[in-house]
């Protein structure tokens, strides 16, 4: 067998095994997207209710003077919650997030605010520690299936720093919103201080009820606002998880497609090389036979 032929065979074998791996990853990711989407939808009612309750309370209490809603006069430090994935193999997912986080940091610095990154996901942590950037907090190990406890842990750390005099004055979240299977959008939202805004209410829900509080307005707000922040972070984590799986599926699908294309090209080259070898062998045999025949004819 020719050297070229052997070389091509070996390459095809290696590409084929890569394709098997990426194909498996693609299938795993697509089955997980469905699960992640279900979790996202399951979490929606709670998020909707708590948002409604918070806006109801904030819009009909005479004065809202809770620490979590007060805007610092001169914000000096901001916390940036950057949600990345634990594993790679998901295309530009993490790169997009980190780029957006960098852009936001620059923007904040221009306004005279010092950003502190709080990072979830091994990839983001590695990115920050490689550049020896200081992190306010880091969490990992749950990016593909976050639990509410994870969101709570993160929210506790952020709120604690927010309440501290010398802590952060604003909290922004950089995450990926799951728009559809094909579209995921990097989004930046400010979650603290909460914005108390009188929005136009849709007419069908009627006026917001004027609540009585048990035990007291302050007591309820003390409990309610942290839960609201947790819920927002939880929803960002869930959306990011779904987006991560969707990106991974897409990246792995194109990797599989590319591998199959390579296999096709190599197979063609291999067939060509084999055919060339055979043609050469035949012409050698024919040439040899002719030479023998000529020699025999010359003797007679």
């Amino acid at each position: 067998m020719g050297a070229q032929l052997r070389l091509l065979r070996r390459r095809i074998k290696s590409v084929r095994s890569t394709a098997k791996i990426t194909r498996a990853q693609e299938l795993i990711a697509s089955s997980r997207i469905v699960k992640a989407q279900q979790r996202m939808h399951a979490a929606l009612p709670y998020e909707r209710e708590i948002t409604r309750t918070v806006s109801g309370v904030l819009s009909n209490t005479a004065k809202v003077d809770h620490p979590l809603t007060v805007q610092a006069e001169n914000p000096r430090r901001a916390g940036l919650l950057v949600i990345t994935s634990d594993r790679g193999f998901c295309g530009g997912y993490n790169a997009n997030i980190l780029r957006e986080a960098e852009a936001l940091s620059r923007l904040l610095r221009d306004r005279g605010i010092e950003p502190t990154p709080y990072v979830t996901g091994r990839k983001g942590i590695a990115w920050h520690s490689f550049r020896s950037r200081e992190m306010g907090g880091q969490w990992s190990g749950f990016s593909d299936a976050p639990a509410y406890g994870n969101a709570k842990e993160i929210a506790d750390a952020l709120i604690e720093s927010f309440r501290d005099e010398n802590g952060i004055d604003e909290i922004h979240v950089v995450s990926t919103a799951f728009v559809s299977m094909l579209t995921q959008q990097v989004t930046v939202t400010r979650i603290l201080p909460l914005e108390v805004e009188e929005t136009e209410r849709p007419p069908d829900t009627g006026p917001m009820p004027y609540y009585e509080f048990e035990p007291s307005a302050d007591g309820v707000l003390d409990q309610l606002l942290p839960r609201y922040v947790e819920s927002r972070i939880f929803s960002a984590l869930l959306q990011s998880a779904a987006s991560e799986h969707a990106s991974r599926r897409r990246a792995m699908k194109s990797a599989t497609d590319n591998a199959n294309e390579l296999i096709r090209v190599f197979t063609q080259q291999m067939n060509q090389a084999r055919q060339a070898e055979i043609t050469q062998e035949i012409s050698e045999i024919v040439g040899g036979a002719n030479a023998l025949a000529d020699a025999g004819a010359g003797k007679e």
Binding site: P45, Y46, E49, A147, F234
Partner: protein
């Protein structure tokens, strides 16, 4: 009589939603019963409370609710539980086990655990 629209949700999922005649929950001020046309209320629920929803088609609904809020307005009741479990979903053997363990170790932390386990058993319709 008008009915209440009730939703019981936890951060991870919606446990139950539907119409009912009465909701009884335990806030930190004590038990609160809500019937149609109740004034808007926002209350904090206790750890290890039992939530009862009466007048539901197919029997009353009982759930163990650990922390969270109840918000009432316009004949709508939302129970926002931090964690919650429907009575029919409670693993009785495990809850009993947890209660015994928590009872055995007498410290401050286990008091809450006793409450939680108790609520789960009551929700499941067991004697405690």
């Amino acid at each position: 009589m008008a009915k209440l629209r009730v939703g019981v949700v936890s951060p991870e999922r919606e446990l139950w939603s539907g119409e009912a005649d009465m909701v009884i929950a335990k806030t930190i001020d004590g038990e609160i019963g809500i019937m149609p046309e109740h004034a808007p209320v926002l209350g904090i629920l206790v750890e290890g409370g039992v939530l009862r929803v009466k007048g539901v088609e197919g029997g009353d609904l009982v759930a163990a609710v650990h922390g969270g809020f109840i918000s009432v307005g316009n004949n709508e009741v939302s129970v926002l539980a931090e964690t919650a479990e429907l009575g029919s979903e409670v693993d009785v053997a495990r809850a009993r086990d947890a209660l015994q363990r928590a009872d055995a170790s007498m410290d401050g932390e286990s008091a809450a655990a006793v409450q939680r386990a108790r609520a789960r058993l009551i929700a499941a319709g067991e004697e405690v």
